[in-house]
């Protein structure tokens, strides 16, 4: 899934980039309203995070123009609370949600995941193909819901984590090299630091393993990679 971030503050933009990239999205950046519209035309993102107060064109205007062109791509406004934006006005403009500044990482993640779920639900409604439910161990994973279920308990997952789980679920007993994992779950375009993979695996373990210190699903094969015992 491709996300467009339009935010003029460099630090905030970079931070959002990192968050969304970690979540598993392909991220496109824009530093002002006009760049945002150009990027929208060029990249056709699956959803957009729009700052409101931007140079050259405000987030309102960008949203209006995008909606004016007939696109129904989900748009999330990033705003300083209330005084900058009247939620009713924003909704009338066609935005789907808001994130208020200063926002926490968890907030952003929650909102983005909500948008993603809606995106997949819309796809399913249209009859378009989406990832199917799969099982790994005693986990039932619902890719379109960014969720795994075990014994009736919900575990929230990111896109990236689902991709990782899918990779392992499809390759039970096979040792997957680090490169392989990176290729499959990050794509050839990315060159993430190797620590990134470790961190993700570690975080994933915390989510799905009963005891992350003694992983059962995803075992480390030292010097090589990882393996799902199946």
């Amino acid at each position: 899934m491709k996300v467009l971030i339009a935010e003029d503050d460099r630090n905030i933009r970079q931070g959002l980039f990192d968050i969304l990239e970690a979540e598993g999205y392909e991220v496109v950046e824009a530093g002002d309203g006009e760049e945002a519209l150009a990027a929208f035309e060029r990249e056709s993102p699956d959803f957009i995070c729009l700052d409101i107060m931007m140079p050259k064109k405000s987030g309102y205007d960008v949203c209006r123009e995008i909606r004016g062109s007939g696109a129904s791509v989900p748009i999330v406004f990033l705003s300083a609370k209330s005084e900058e934006i009247d939620k009713v006005v924003g909704l009338e403009l066609g935005a789907d949600d808001f994130i208020s500044k200063p926002f926490g990482v968890k907030e952003v993640v929650a909102r983005i995941r909500a948008v993603t779920r809606r995106y997949y639900a819309a796809k399913e409604q249209k009859g378009e193909p989406t990832d199917e439910v799969f099982t790994i161990g005693d986990l039932e994973v619902y890719p379109t819901k960014l969720r795994a279920v075990r014994d009736g308990a919900d575990i929230e997952l990111s896109l990236r984590e689902i991709r990782l789980l899918k990779l392992f679920a499809e390759n039970p007993g096979i040792v997957l090299s680090r490169d392989k994992v990176l290729d499959e779950c990050w794509g050839q375009k990315y060159f993430p630091a190797s620590r990134t993979l470790d961190q993700h695996i570690s975080r994933l373990r915390k989510r799905v393993e009963h005891d992350s210190k003694n992983p059962v699903f995803i075992k480390t094969v030292h010097g090589v990679g990882y393996r799902y015992e199946g």
């Binding site: 931070g15 209330s82 900058e84 500044k101 200063p102």
Partner: protein, 515 residues
């Protein structure tokens, strides 16, 4: 500037002006009438003066005639001679005590006397002319008689003789008129007030005997004032003519004064009204400027704060497993940046009014979220926070307000009730279209009697616990204002130990739901 205010100001400005204008006009009219009357009276006096002058002339003639006639014998020769010798006299006549005409004689009248008889026939036929038929009052002993004959006024003087007879003389009218005219002002007098007027001495038949003044009235103009002369010239009149607008000029001065003062008053009131409006407008402009400033500042403050918080959290994720104290330090940065954000929110709320913006959410879910945000801070202080939610329903609520209120309450607990082992319990309960949320701790509590005072802005309890703790004292004031704005309230329940804040919010079911 709204229409209501404008209407009110206009009414305030217009009503007194209208009232004063009405009074002013009435007063001016009254003044004008008065002035008119006074002016007329002045003219009347003037004409009376002229009448007096004329009377003097006539009286002068009377005196002369009296002298002349007193010594005359009542025979024709004497009387004829008297007529010849006395100036201004046409004819003389005499009656005996029985009222029979003695002179002019019946049989030897000359032509003049014939004509005289013709003129005076009516007069002598009625002897009573010379006697007053009064009741018991004595008959006068002299008098004038005037009558019209031959196109003009004829004047006759008579006096009683010692034997009861009458002797008299007809006055030459022309001579008398000439003498009168001689006493009157010249035809075009240079005199103040006469410039625009003309006084006419008019005979009984409407013939202008004499007139003076510079003004020439129109053919059928009406005189301003008319005064009949005193007897014996009572058929004559003095008429005063002036230009139609001449008094108006005087009147006009009064009107002008009135209108000028009115104009001045109108300008004053309008100026006042404009001043009030501009002040009001200025207040609003000031308020708008302040709001814009606040918005600007808010944006400025929140942008770097966003980065601080976001990066602190990202960093925290990176080093979660770190065994050093780094995660803990980062935790502090995160929670303090949250606190800073809350503080900014409070300050901004305080400096401008806030409107209710409701969104649909699960109440317990939202409360849980706020608690989760504060949990790290609580756990750092080794306090426990527990949530017993019984308001899971989806309702309409302004989440920003809810977050701010709960945030303030939790922040207070952290600040003032923080002690190892303090337990905080949050409960929620849905009751119809209201949600009740209680935040209870078993800390030191609020001293008795201060339950209400703590909700006052800037009030902070001063004691060992609070001294040294930073705070502005507006958290509870704002929280209560917000709660009330949300259709509910916030109060402190009386408790022997600890503090229990009860928050009630109006949370209607989302529109469209039938349950």
């Amino acid at each position: 500037m709204n229409a209501k205010l404008a209407a009110a100001v206009i009414a305030i400005a217009v009503l007194p002006i209208a009232a004063i204008a009405w009074l002013g006009v009435r007063s001016a009219e009254h003044e004008q009438k008065l002035m008119g009357h006074r002016f007329d009276a002045l003219i009347q006096d003037r004409l009376s003066d002229i009448d007096g002058t004329i009377r003097k002339v006539v009286d002068g003639r009377k005196t002369e005639l009296k002298k002349s006639l007193s010594g005359v014998e009542r025979d024709t020769e004497s009387l004829r001679e008297a007529a010849r010798n006395t100036p201004y006299v046409n004819q003389t006549f005499a009656l005996d005590a029985e009222g029979t005409l003695v002179h002019p004689p019946d049989n030897s009248r000359n032509q003049d006397e014939e004509r005289f008889m013709e003129r005076t026939r009516m007069l002598f036929e009625s002897k009573e002319r010379f006697y007053y038929p009064g009741e018991g009052t004595a008959a006068p002993d002299h008098g004038w008689h005037s009558w019209y004959w031959g196109g003009g006024l004829n004047l006759l003087f008579w006096q009683r003789t010692e034997d009861g007879g009458i002797v008299g003389a007809e006055v030459t009218r022309m001579a008398l008129v000439a003498e009168i005219i001689g006493e009157l002002p010249a035809s075009d007098p240079v005199e103040a007030g006469m410039k625009e007027a003309r006084i006419v001495l008019e005979s009984g038949s409407g013939y202008p005997v004499y007139s003076f003044g510079v003004f020439s009235p129109e053919e059928d103009a009406a005189p301003r004032v008319t005064l009949p002369l005193s007897p014996p010239l009572g058929a004559w009149r003095l008429k005063y003519y002036d230009a139609p607008g001449s008094l108006a000029a005087v009147e006009g001065t009064t009107s002008t004064v009135v209108w000028f003062s009115l104009g001045g008053l109108v300008i004053a009131v309008v100026a006042l009204a404009l001043f009030v409006l501009s002040e009001h407008g200025r207040d609003r402009r000031e308020a708008l400027k302040r709001v814009t400033f606040v918005n600007q500042v808010s944006h400025e403050l929140k942008t770097p704060l966003t980065s601080i918080r976001m990066y602190a959290e990202l960093l925290l994720e990176e080093i979660e497993d770190d065994e050093t104290r780094a995660p803990k330090y980062l935790g502090v940065i995160v929670s303090e940046s949250q606190r800073l954000s809350r503080l900014i929110g409070n300050v901004l709320t305080f400096s401008r009014g806030q409107r209710l913006r409701a969104s649909v959410c699960g109440m317990d879910e939202e409360i849980g979220r706020v608690i989760d945000l504060h949990r790290p801070a609580f756990e750092d202080q080794e306090m426990s926070i527990r949530f017993k939610g019984d308001a899971a329903a989806t309702v309409e609520v302004d989440t920003d307000m809810l977050d701010q209120i709960l945030g303030n309450l939790f922040s207070n607990v952290e600040k003032y009730a923080a002690k190892k082992g303090t337990a905080v319990e949050v409960r929620s309960r849905l009751d119809g279209d209201e949600t009740e949320i209680t935040v209870e701790d078993d800390g030191p509590g609020i001293p008795r009697g201060l339950q209400e005072k703590i909700f006052e802005p800037f009030y902070r309890i001063s004691n060992d616990v609070t001294d040294g703790v930073s705070g502005t004292g507006i958290g509870l004031a704002i929280s209560r204002d917000l709660a009330r704005l949300h259709g509910g309230d916030l109060h402190l329940e009386e408790r022997s130990n600890g503090a229990k804040f009860v928050l009630v919010l109006k949370t209607p079911k989302p529109q469209g739901e039938t349950k």
